[in-house]
Amino acid sequence: MKRALAFLLLATTVVAACGGNVAASPTPSATASATATAKPIQVGLVTDVGGLNDKSFNQAANTGRLNAEKDFGLKTSVIESKKQEDYVPNLTTFAQQNYDLVIAVGFLMQNAAWKVAKQFPNVKFAIIDGAPANDAGNTENLPNVANLFFKEQEAGYLVGVIAATMAKNMVGKATHNTVCSMGGIPIPPVDHYIAGYQDAIKTISPTTTILNGYSNDFVDQQKGKEVGLNHISKGCDILFQVAGGSGLGYIAAAKEKGVYAIGVDVDQIDVAPGTVITSAMKRVDKAVYDTSNAVKSGSFKAGDNFFSATNDGIAFGKLDPVVPADAKAAADKALADIKSGAIKPKTDLTVK
């Protein structure tokens, strides 16, 4: 017992010693008793089962929440969902406490958000990556729900342009004219990225070999890395990951073997400098930030809100110095073309 206590104390001391590093801890908020008069705008964020540490869109959404809290003087809170059945009660929790805006992160919550939003017509809701869906599975827009959509294929297309240009011109370590991608699991939001990526490569460099794989996991890094090593052994030298935590393993494979990787969702240039050449960014943080601001300023718009290249909701991330100017120029041009509608990236995979 003494040993057990000693260990616990050791562990807690570690927490305490490192506590200073904590960047921003969530602010304790007022309880439900606060009345509507003169209260600050309250924003509640409900993550999906990935949790705040998913190195992906939940984390990005939380970043947007914290930025909005700082910049607009809001009161915000977050609940991490541990199970899919928690979505309804977690959304309800914020709605019952008269939050002004409740944000559901992830398409998994479409049905849950529909259920809760119908019950609380005076509370505004936003769904990242989705629209309210009734029990039959059909989209049923509600006057108090904003559907925040992203065109992942556009982000995939932009980084695909950079990859294709580098592969075609054999830039740096990209010498095999082969590029790859790896998804977590084959579901639409993942495959949209990859479809856009492949579309760009087929368009710009038809001779380039394209491979695609799945780690079948959003967490396991070793599985992601093995897929990466397998791809590299087949000549891949630019690897695009769309697999959350598992994708970090895919990047690790690229780093270990000295080839290039492309990050996803958030700017992952810092994950492995020199390896990650750019990132296909889906600005979930911006969506959360903008929507919070819209509620505060009274410009909240229910129904579909598209975050795309057009409104900088989609972008490619910072570029590594190895990326040649012509590649950047090509990507910039593609961005402009997408904005203008001249290019409409595909949403179906070319290479499965």
């Binding site: 927490v15 490192c18 506590g19 397998n230």
Partner: protein, 315 residues
């Protein structure tokens, strides 16, 4: 489906990499259960090893310090289990499950506290590969083993070491006696509880090394729950391997091979039918069940495994 996809050097090299963390957990299980303590907290020990290895590597920029720290924390978690299982004679499964939950919660919590907004540093000191230059040029063999990570070799070395320790040394003899018939061991003056403490602590260190392999050799970062149940699979490998280090190695290799196949066969077809990638992923698990049902069958644990030892005067 080609020969290369089935038994190519790449597949075999991947087999070794994928088997290593499971092997280390299984070795931990072997040591602990041979001494008579069921340690289902291997998963938790791996997880804290993975996390605190990263923290220590980040703070010290030294791989050695990182590995020592990982194993120390693994030993610490195992020591809690040892106190509960040996000293307090609590239910060993309960204690192990509680520690697994604790490890998952604690590492996720601390990960978010430490690295939530920034992510694990990219310049983390990693465990290096061991390049065997003379072999590198040898076809096939070189591709399989010339560039494996130091911990892969450590795992293989530990198989030999622990096999020799258990079956060819005096302390190993005593440890097995304690796991088979603790009272007999006590009557010849062997300190049963002390032996069990060391065994459990060693098992925590081995599992933590397996966790550190994942974070410091494979991923060079930590993600929540990154061990993904490998501690439990290690437990299965231990039983599959009949509580021997060499058996655990065989079991881990079979499992690792199944996993490697599930990647190398992606995109392969049987006739005209493309095998769904998700079903390929069941390969290692199906393979393990088939192997155990087909070739291993009944296996007998150490006779006193999981049974708290009661004696007077030492409590």
């Amino acid at each position: 489906m080609t020969i290369d996809q089935l038994i190519g050097a790449g597949v075999l090299a991947a087999t070794l990499r994928l088997a290593t963390p499971i092997l280390l957990a299984a070795l931990g299980g072997v040591v602990s259960e041979r001494a008579g303590v069921v340690n289902i907290a291997l998963e938790g020990c791996m997880l804290v090893g993975a996390f605190f290895g990263v923290v220590a590597a980040d703070q010290s920029h030294s791989v050695v310090v990182a590995l020592v720290a990982a194993m120390a924390v693994g030993a610490g978690l195992a020591a809690i289990h040892a106190v509960a299982a040996i000293h307090l004679r609590s239910d060993q499964i309960v204690s192990g499950m509680a520690l697994n939950i604790l490890a998952l919660g604690l590492t996720s919590y601390l990960d978010y506290q430490f690295y939530g907004t920034t992510g694990t540093p990219s310049d983390l000191a990693g465990v290096p590969d061991i390049e065997i230059a003379p072999l590198a040029a040898v076809p096939f063999v070189g591709d399989v083993i010339a560039h494996q990570n130091a911990i892969v070799w450590a795992g293989l070395a530990l198989v030999v070491l622990i096999q020799v320790f258990l079956f060819r040394t005096v302390p190993g003899l005593r440890l097995r006696a304690v796991g088979e018939h603790p009272r007999a061991a006590e009557t010849v003056g062997i300190a049963v509880r002390q032996t069990r403490y060391w065994a459990v602590i060693a098992s925590g260190m081995l599992a933590a090394l397996g966790g550190a392999y994942l974070s410091l050799s494979v991923a060079h970062s930590f993600t929540d729950g990154m061990t993904g149940g490998r501690g439990f699979i290690g437990l299965a490998a231990m039983i599959f391997g009949r509580w021997t280090p060499v058996g655990a190695l065989v079991a881990s290799l079979i499992f690792g091979y199944g996993t490697a196949l599930s990647f190398s066969l992606q995109g392969a077809s049987i006739g005209d039918v493309r095998v769904p990638v998700q079903l390929l992923s069941t390969l290692p698990y199906v393979l393990t069940i088939l192997a155990v049902a087909g070739f291993v069958g009944r296996s007998r644990p150490p006779a006193a495994d999981g049974i708290p030892y009661e004696t007077e005067g030492h409590a």
